[in-house]
Symmetry: C2
Subunit: 161 residues, 2 copies
Amino acid sequence: MSAVKTVILAFGALSEPFWRDAVKEYEKRLSGLWPLSVIELPEARLPSSPSAAEISAALSAEAKAALARIPPRAYVVALCVEGRMLTSPELSAVMEKAAATHPEIWFLIGSSYGMDASLKARADLSLSFSRMTFPHALARVIAAEQIYRAAQISRGAPYHK
Amino acid sequence: MSAVKTVILAFGALSEPFWRDAVKEYEKRLSGLWPLSVIELPEARLPSSPSAAEISAALSAEAKAALARIPPRAYVVALCVEGRMLTSPELSAVMEKAAATHPEIWFLIGSSYGMDASLKARADLSLSFSRMTFPHALARVIAAEQIYRAAQISRGAPYHK
């Protein structure tokens, strides 16, 4: 397997300890494989019933902050419900190929209201886990688990369901 | 929303405390809505490199144990990767409709090697969360979260991503 650093960039903190522990477990398992770090940017503050313009401004501010952090040579995967659906071996193959020419692979998870077009435009791949809507915290856990699964597939290790 | 009991039937125990806590959190949130209980049946024992015949016998034994537990009037959803993909509002509508004529809705999660045809045949709906492969524990958490989300959609409550 090619060496590569993996990063999950998300907005807002994980409120429940069990979500944090689940992500930490996969960070631990990924060290030595495709080391994973999680970058948490603050979620833009919005009133409880925000207008479309307020949402748009918040998403744009979040995208700006995210784009400032993503290295130019990173391969970027944006997680969004309308993205491409891949099987786990297909994702592993995409990551293995990206790892050959990129030092880092970043997974972007939008905030409650989604992701600005400017951030989606930076992505090399738009990826959808499911037609279903998941909470952010769960999306983060699924991303961490799928990165670990992709690494295990890439190094030819057995990994049970 | 129509009253209905919900059940997740799965094989084997959750090894990590964070998975157990995540499922417990949704059980707590679902009480008073569509109360959720989890039934854990023992996973059939298999050698480390089982033959096809051994796997088939194990799945058949698991299916038998599961079928003995499922009430005749239950609406049954089998989770399998080749099932139908629904959005969260579509799943909520399916459950709301099932709740009108069934006292219980059961979600079946197979074991490491899958699910016997006899168990799939009992299902009113085969449902797929994703083209990706998830570990059982994560599938159980996703099922609990989607049942909670479906209940919230059904009662018209807002529920953030």
